[in-house]
Every structure is written in C-alpha cells, then in structure tokens.
Symmetry: C2
Subunit: 327 residues, 2 copies
Amino acid sequence: MLPGLDERTITIYAPIQSRLQTVETRLRSLDEETVPNLKMLLDYVLSTGGKRIRPAMTLLASDFYGPQDESPITMAVGIELLHLATLIHDDTVDDSVMRRGKPTVSHQWGNHVAILLGDYVFSASATWVCDTGNLRVVCRFAETLRELSTGQISEYFNNYNPEQTRQGYQDRISRKTASLFRTAAECGAILGGAPEPQIAALSNYGFSMGIAFQIVDDLLDFQGDPVEMGKPVGSDLMNGILTLPTIMLLERYPTDNPVAAYLKDRTNERHLDRALEMVHNSGVVADCYAEVREYCARGLRELESLPPCEARDSLQALAEYVRERYR
Amino acid sequence: MLPGLDERTITIYAPIQSRLQTVETRLRSLDEETVPNLKMLLDYVLSTGGKRIRPAMTLLASDFYGPQDESPITMAVGIELLHLATLIHDDTVDDSVMRRGKPTVSHQWGNHVAILLGDYVFSASATWVCDTGNLRVVCRFAETLRELSTGQISEYFNNYNPEQTRQGYQDRISRKTASLFRTAAECGAILGGAPEPQIAALSNYGFSMGIAFQIVDDLLDFQGDPVEMGKPVGSDLMNGILTLPTIMLLERYPTDNPVAAYLKDRTNERHLDRALEMVHNSGVVADCYAEVREYCARGLRELESLPPCEARDSLQALAEYVRERYR
C-alpha cells in the first residue's frame, strides 16, 4: 500500500484502496519523458509520502451514485499533482529546508530546479485534469489554481505584518488550502454523477475539511516534535507568518505582546520564546481547537444529505481523523 | 495603440486592431484582486511592451470562416498571459537581469516574488482559456504548458553541455517556443470554426513561425546592440546555453574550438571573444539564416490552402516580418 499511510487512514480508505493504488502508480509513472533528471526528481518528491488525503476525497466523493468511469481516478491524479506542485514552489518561496523529514527540492537542488520542477508538475496536473474530458471540472480546477496562487501571494506580502485579522487569516487559508480540498471533493462528486444539491454538499464538506486541516497544521507548528514534523517548533512565526494562534494573541493582548515584539526585532530570541510560551499558556490553543471542531462538525452535517454507504462512512471517519490529528 | 508595436506590425495587425486592443485592455484589468501589490507587479510586466505576436496569430487564425463569437479574444488573452508567465519564470531560472531594457521581476523584487507572480499569471492564463468554453482548446493549452515546461527543463539540464546536437536544439526550441506559436494559431483556427485541414495548416504555420522566431532570437543574441536588446552580446553562451550558431560551430570545428574551450573555462574571456568572433566570421550565421528562411517558406506554403482574405495577407506579412527581424 502507500508508504505515507498510517493504520487509521488505511482503514478509512478501504472502499477505494485499489483505485488509490492506481492513482499512486500513475503518479509514479509520470512521463518517462526524454528530459534527463526529471524522473529522479519526481521520484524524490513522491517518495516523501503524504497521506494522499485530497485524491482520497475525490475518489470517495465520486462513489455515491452508482458505477462510474475512470475519470475520478484521472482527476485524483491531477489533484495530488497540483498539491505537490504547490509544495515545491511554497518551500522555495519560504526558503524551507525540510519537508516531512527530507530536504526540500529547493534546498537539495537549488531554487532554479525547484521552479522548473514545480512548473512541470503544475503542467502535468493540468493535462491529467483535461483527460477527464469534463469541461466543468477543468474550469473548477483552473479557478482553484488562481485561488491557491492569490492565497500564497497574500501570505507572502503579509509576512511580518502585525495588523493581520482573523478575517484575513480565514480568507487566506480559504484560498491557499480549503480551495483545493473543496475542488477535490466537488470534482469527485461531479464526475461521479451526483445531483446538484449533493455536489454542493460535498463541495462544502471539502471546504470545511480544508479549513480544519489548515488550522490543525498551524497548531501543530507550535507543538510537534521537530524531528517528526521535519521543521523547528514555531517555524511559521520564525518566518514571519502569522497563523490563528498568534493572530488571536495579537488581538487579545494589544500591549506588551511578545509576538509583536518578535516581528519588530527577530534577533531577540527572548521574544520568540515568550511568544511560544504564551501560545501554550494562554487559552488560544483551546480556542483554535474549538474552531477545528466547529468546521469538522459543519463538514459532518453536510454529509447528512448524502445516501448512506461505505463512502459516506469513510468521509465521516476522515473528518474525525482531521479533527484528531492534533491532540 | 499598443506600446510595443512598430509601424510594420501596426500595418500587419490592421484587420484585428480593435480586437487586439480589447486583448490589451483585458490583460491590464487582470483582477483587481484584494491582494496587495499584485496590480503593481502586473502593470510592471505588461508595460515592458512586446509585439503581442502570439495573440495576434490567434486572432488572425480565427478570421477565415465568417463571423464568430468573442472566444478568440478570450483565448488570445490566455495565450499572452502564458507567454508572460514563462518569461517571468525563465528570467528567474536564468538569473537574467534585464528584459526589454527594464530590470526583470526577479532582479527587481527577488526570486520569491517572481515565483509567486509567475504562478499567478499561469493560473490567470488557465482561467481565461477555460472561459472559451471549448474543451479542445483547453486540452491543447494544457499540453502546451507541459511542452513549454519540458523544453525549459531540457535547456536547463543541458547548460554547459558541449555534446548537444542540432536535433537536440530543434527538439528543445520546438517545445519551449514553437509549441506556443502553434497552439496560438491552432486554437484561433478551432475557435474560428475552420475545417480540420485548415486547422492543421494554421497549426503547422504557427509551428514553423515559432521555430523561425526562435532561431532569429538566438541569432540576435550574437548581434544586436546590447542597449536595444537589453542584454549583453553573447549572453546565451555566457549563461552556458548553446544555440544553433554555437552548436554548428562545435559540429564543424571539433578541434581547438573556442566554444568548447569557453564551456570548460568560463573565467577565460579570451575564449568567449574568440567564440563570438568565430560566430561572425565563419559561415554559421548565413547557414542559420537559411534555416530561418526555410521555416518561413514552410509557413507561407501552409497558408496556400486557406481562403484569400485580409487575415491571410496579414499572416503572410507576419512570416516576412519574422524572417526580416534579423538583417
């Protein structure tokens, strides 16, 4: 089975196991183009694993209305490739050194190779999506590209800006993360022949999962074991990226705030230590986690309008999995 | 009219003047997104001018078979945006300092901004092409993305490689340049309702124009006034990029070759000077130019199967214009 999966995701993905394996095989057989080095680079990126949560969502969302053609598999390949392409470029823009415990492409081969490889993986994702032969999903995919891109630009230009609001954060993660989760589920539903109200329900489910997933990711940045996470604790703040916990701190403690102090003077590690301490000792973690629970609950409510089946059980379990990634 | 045009292109573009102006207006009104700085960056890129030769080809190719909808204009916007996106990333990968006499985005704002802006312009190009509502052109566009990308990767990994052949050069410029010219013309023809044989003729015309255009570009790199070109004479070779003239030199003079010597030791400017001198004093420029004439002639032959009209006259004149860019 896939290298990045844990026992729980293996169970959740049971109804789509063989199709997800097909997705993986196709990801790994990306052109044996005549371009030297391309295959080695692609293998490197793919071997960093990952939970394949977005393509799994596409496949599960396609499963509600009877037998279907291969197009959801094709779509799932395109969705995961787009995700990989954004990782390659994001790591380059953020000067990230490690990703899932391995050196990033930009760190290992330099920015130039990372730009070229990211562009290639973007283009490959587009051709896979076109291969579904469905103009509606192709257009949704293109819109998603644009949302991802404006989300990243917005994050970049807001670096070190202490004036960010929760609304701004919400808007940014809607674009940079939730848009792709939404499109993954929505396009699965479209290709699986779901009626419009159920397409909308799965689209909303995907969106809520994306928001919850990103808040959890941002929380994990303040928690995890640096070895397991593959990056230091507090790396977002160290890179000037404010996320929900630090934005909440800035809102609640307008004076003598260590986050604000650190953004002004990043040479002073004392500010950083105090900020990290404050994230853990104030109530913000619990409040962020309440948001995670709220978005997962919204996602679960959307599933109620769908016919009961194995795929629905899996999507429910996936929402619980996203919610419990942070403990 | 458009800032980058000279008298001759203004005349050639006469039948499509107002539509090309619409393309320009749409390029310049790219989202007033809420992302700070984006508009300023886009204006900067657009204000460097350019001859808009690719969108002009789309509009002219769409003009042969009676009245049509707005889709060729929409396509032309997407085509030019894709071209701009590749310029932004290529300049970043090549560490180019100047483009058309202005600092490149990467030189002015850094690699990170250039990656993000290029990705955004890529994504905007995809949404415009989707707005044509024509799955066939969307798929051709996605394939073109992939060809452009493999062309760039191939160029990058062949840098400083003295073993390159004319066949390799041909393959590389087919991908990195001619593919977009071909798609520009082909998609114009498709959206203009041309019959299949005429779509094929216009596609081949675009391809031949692209090859001719790139060889001329590569020749100009050894000629032009550095101020007008916005880069030093011989900049390709200085960056380790072999083009038709230097590949011909390597083939013809297997021993004591200054190109090979320079690739081995770039600190020795004497090798560079000798290589530049040899380009001009051997017969290779004339032989490269013979290739240009040959591809332009092929392009002109393809036009013979098309009904005579203003658009055909313009495409003929465009082929002559491409041929005569190098004197």
